[in-house]
Symmetry: C2
Subunit: 131 residues, 2 copies
């Protein structure tokens, strides 16, 4: 599905009882792209069970640029995974948190991230063996 | 960690008892990139519990190019997640399967993919609400 056309052409009930990631045209591909984007994984994990301001997220997630963090948050907000709350104060104060759907997504992504962090020594060892 | 220097500078036992994805320089970032790359997720799932030839993988994974599939398989092979076996026959016959480490990785990735496929209607509904 192209980014600009958010509405599927056939009725949802017909087209999308369940997504199919192996199908090139399935809109699930776009969600996968957002959730597993370079920063999407880390944003979801950073927001697990917590609310953060933009600047806090930038500090937690090493190496992310302002532009990429903003883009990632917007993707996740559009997909209904992240809540953005702008408080009407001076200076402006914007808070991000996970929606219930985002909390589910974060759990799956965190399980994957935990696995990578735990198994990193084994993975690096097989990289050396193969080099 | 840069792609070219696979060996960490400090001893593994010191530097990498466990990875830290939030740290910009941690080599776990590179593994995350490979596993969650556009095609990495789908290759790991396609190989779950099965051996496939290159051409079979191309047919299963809708939309992947020959070049991107080859690149993805090479990443996953270098990380010790995928086994590549070239049988010495004419015409050439190359088979891909998961290593035990790759099987673990595939389970995590499959849980994420299942979640996306199952929750796709909810996600699309929140996209429409927000549009």
């Amino acid at each position: 599905m192209k980014k600009k056309s958010k509405l599927p052409r056939d009725p949802l009930s017909v087209q999308l009882r369940r997504g199919d990631l192996m199908a090139a045209q399935c809109p699930s591909r776009e969600i996968l792209k957002h959730m597993t984007s370079r920063w999407g994984v880390l944003v979801l994990i950073a927001l697990q069970g917590r609310t953060h301001r933009f600047g806090e997220l930038r500090r937690i997630i090493g190496g992310v640029s302002e532009r990429m963090l903003a883009q990632t948050l917007q993707w996740l907000e559009n997909d209904g995974l992240v809540n953005r709350v702008a408080l009407n104060v001076v200076p402006p104060h914007v808070e991000y948190s996970l929606t219930p759907l985002g909390q589910e997504a974060a759990e799956k992504v965190a399980a994957l991230a935990d696995w990578i962090e735990t198994r990193l020594p084994s993975i690096l060892a097989s990289q050396r063996d193969g080099a």
